[in-house]
Symmetry: C2
Amino acid sequence: MTNSKPYVVGIDMGGTNTVFGIVDARGLVVASNSIKTRKHAKFEDYINELCTELNRLITDNNLVDKIYGIGVGAPNANYFTGMIEDGVNLPWPTPIPFAKMLSEKMGVPVAITNDANAAAIGEMTYGAARGLKDFIMITLGTGVGSGIIINGQLVYGHDGFAGELGHMIVKRNNGRLCACGRSGCLETYCSATGVARTAREYLELTDTPSLLRDIPSDEITSKDVYDAAVNGDKLANDVFTFTGTVLGEALADFTVFSAPEAFILFGGLAKAGDLLLKPVREAMEKNMLSIWKGKVKVILSELKEADAAVLGASALGWEAKPVATPEVIATPTAVEITK
Amino acid sequence: MTNSKPYVVGIDMGGTNTVFGIVDARGLVVASNSIKTRKHAKFEDYINELCTELNRLITDNNLVDKIYGIGVGAPNANYFTGMIEDGVNLPWPTPIPFAKMLSEKMGVPVAITNDANAAAIGEMTYGAARGLKDFIMITLGTGVGSGIIINGQLVYGHDGFAGELGHMIVKRNNGRLCACGRSGCLETYCSATGVARTAREYLELTDTPSLLRDIPSDEITSKDVYDAAVNGDKLANDVFTFTGTVLGEALADFTVFSAPEAFILFGGLAKAGDLLLKPVREAMEKNMLSIWKGKVKVILSELKEADAAVLGASALGWEAKPVATPEVIATPTAVEITK
């Protein structure tokens, strides 16, 4: 049986841009485009523009009736409910029944989840985790996110929100204040923001000469720290050693939970490569329970950064099921996917 | 189709005793017995005695050919390999191919896992976790063990050893030395041994009067601390508050991983009831990421203690599959289990 709908759509809804693309079963992004996420005061207007542009992209590429499903990565998106839940920095009132609205307008099944989960599914389908059944994706961006795969399946937990490893508390006393309202969360140390924060602390607390002293303290970014480190700056290198050590200690702790075969690092900070990987691996091994010493890999994502978010979301499109309500327009028959 | 083999056997191999029982599909222990684990210098002699006694129990109860499978809970037992792996306090050389040997001798499929995992499966099949698809069993005994259930399935991880939450590091600096060789593991604080250790520390570091000062310091047990606490001893109560707080903080951290519906506490220390539960729940809520505040239950096991280990192991017997080797004697046909 051949697949009469051999394409999926991936949508990555970010705080600034919403990027979307049509992806084939081998993970090739056939076509893509984007709109501004915050242009419209009403969510209805946003989703209408999104559907208009998406339909245009589909028509322009002669793929009408060839779309199997749509996968969406969005902040605080819940796979179980199809909703974008409360507590997220978007210009519209939440919760938003995103999956249902999009499915009704586009006439195909829609599945949504948060961006880190989408990245994990993308990595398993098209990236460094192909063939792995047990791994943990750690996304190192403005915050720290995670997508946990156990026995080939994404862990959603009881309520759809599992895998918030960025909010594991790694420093119980006098930890850094986190955006979540608590203190000492992993993401206050190991995100891009955390790296800049560490650099500012080191600059204040020491007299070590550093290229970073030429930059106004509150303007320092993780990219500045990276550039300085690559240029041999000792303080900047110390910042990466500290960051990697905290992350490596956390990875050793995560291992006792699900005994993954690998951790896959993704996101802006992962581009620091060995600067980060070396201390991560060292600290992880040093802190690892003996049965897992030398057995858990730490690798970088293999998804092309420009495509990664859309690819990750699109992979979820293969799993999308029709929403079980009378309003649903399309209920495509099950087809074999040749991946 | 009726089930022609409506019974399973559960075997709980402990460091001192090996308890085994025949269990029906509703979780009733029909008959049970035990042998000494350490009586024989050779493993072959141990397993021969075990099979002799087990066959006697089966025959005496007229259940020959009525046994569907055997489940075993044993230290360092690996579900994937069927082996008791290295690094365990038993009188025989490891690894031991326990599942294969037992299956060959008994003529029925055998599945093995560690005791905490067996307890989790038992709780899901017969106990407080009936109907729960996402929960974490925490066993508070001499050490701290755990069995993690996600989406109705036990988490074995890449290598079969997942769920070692007792070895999550909860105190990164100056933590207590753990039997695993590292420092600061949860089980150094929240096991029965940890409670006694905390009591000794409190007695040394303070002048607080306490009933426990009548007991030689190195003879204090968690039971002594419990008895003193129940009698209104302030120091003993402080020990339970501390223990519960450390455990509650850890449960909040575990929640970010798999978003469980409940934690189920099992084992000797869980018998402290509210003395432990109250500080556990308080600390968990205080440290919980806001999306899970007030949503995760902490409950005590409902398995009768005398039966729990055997019941837990027996539940695994329903999942046992014939070992895929030519030596296997029996390959029962698949039957419907009416549970």
